[in-house]
Symmetry: C2
Subunit: 224 residues, 2 copies
DNA sequence: CTTCGACGACGAGAATATTCATAAATAGAT
DNA sequence: ATCTATTTATGAATATTCTCGTCGTCGAAG
């Protein structure tokens, strides 16, 4: 699930992106209208998180543009209290929801979940890639209905690489995302490699894995 | 390290408390001036996180009262942008720092860390309880200089109970705090009990553990 | 084309975490 | 005081995670 976060206040953006990433969303950041439009034109996002007060104009301009072209993208408007006046009340401009600052991250999470479910139907929690089916909610994987027994770490790695398909994911990114607090983990260790190895060994039984690349000096990538 | 969070906006308070708890702070919440003063009079806090716009008055009244009596308590003021006018600029009223909403939780964490270090000197990362010394930063425990080999989970449990000494901590609290996402964990399991048991077995070798109570139907508590 | 060094793959084993079955302890009811 | 139901403690088995040593492979330099 890809999300574009349009917000000029960097700390807030970081906080939001960090939270969403940890919940399995793949995020990009834009800090202005122009950057946002640029991103939207070059990538496919499922959700747009849109702050209204941007340095080079109102987020509404972005929203209008989006609604002209990409109708399936969900838009959540973020606004300071009071900034949302009557004129635009009722979400007539085509936003799916809105949040007033300051908001709790869990609140954002709940809105997102609801919207995604509304748009994509009830089962968004499945991830299908190269014949494998990942049920994100209960950590189950199968290939052609044949269940595969992955450990939690193996599942986490598979899920994260799959969510970020076609992008190289570094070992550091995996560590930060899956293990969280980076300080607890010994960095000059090959535990990621070992988990990847074990994951591959299990997947390999079912099909060829040439799409599961090792990118030397960088990390791992799942191509689709 | 005990913190009182004075903030009437419940979602924000929850978010902050959740974050701080996960970083080893022990938090209480007050949503009004009167509740805050009540808490301050009955408990000892190291830091006061104080929102200014409260339903029954300004947080400044709380601050003034605090400065009359409890001079060693650190105070961080939380305020909406613009709410902090010139009259009170420069922290003349005795606050140690302030943050404007919206703020990033990591920013709050950094300020807290700095303030606590300023007040308590450089080494706040040791916890001493009943003869045991916990070095929080590198997961080491010792009793009379004799090192004790605890696993990470055992250390986490010991630390959390010690930080919350004299309070009963439920299994759910331990699960949420140490394992994080509660959904991943099978709740009808006794894994907490097992970790507690193993922890006790290791501590027990060095001294009597009558202060490490099991509170039937509730959880565990370390008395001091 | 060969050599060298760095990086990743791999196997095996140690350490840790979790599950499970059963025993002991506790509190309430009889 | 005894019984009973529920909660916690315990030992042991199982599963998972992480560490370590070694080997293979890739790519750059000669």
């Amino acid at each position: 699930m890809n999300i574009l976060v349009v917000e000029d206040f960097k700390e807030l953006a970081n906080e939001v992106i960090d939270y969403l990433s940890k919940n399995g969303y793949v995020c990009k950041w834009a800090n202005s209208c122009s950057k946002a439009l640029e991103e939207i034109n070059s990538n496919d996002f499922d959700v747009l998180l849109l702050d209204l007060g941007l340095p080079d104009g109102s987020g509404f301009d972005v929203l209008k543009m989006v609604r002209k072209t990409q109708s399936k993208m969900a838009v959540i408007i973020i606004t300071a209290r009071g900034e949302l006046d009557d004129r635009i009340n009722g979400l007539q401009l085509g936003a799916d929801d809105y949040l007033t600052k300051p908001f709790a991250l869990t609140e954002l999470g709940a809105r997102l979940y609801a919207i995604i479910r509304r748009i994509h139907g009830f089962t968004v929690n499945d991830l299908n890639i190269h014949g494998f089916n990942l049920q994100l909610q209960d950590y189950k994987v199968s290939y052609n209905k044949i269940p595969i027994n992955l450990t939690k770490k193996e599942f986490d790695i598979f899920q994260y690489l799959a969510l970020n398909k076609n992008r190289v994911i570094t070992r550091l990114q995996l560590t930060e995302h899956i293990w969280g607090d980076i300080l607890e983990v010994n960095s000059d260790s090959n535990f990621i490699d070992v988990h990847v190895r074990n994951l591959r060994k299990k997947l390999d039984k079912h099909t060829s894995l040439e799409w599961f690349e090792t990118v030397r000096n960088v990390g791992y990538r799942i191509n689709v």
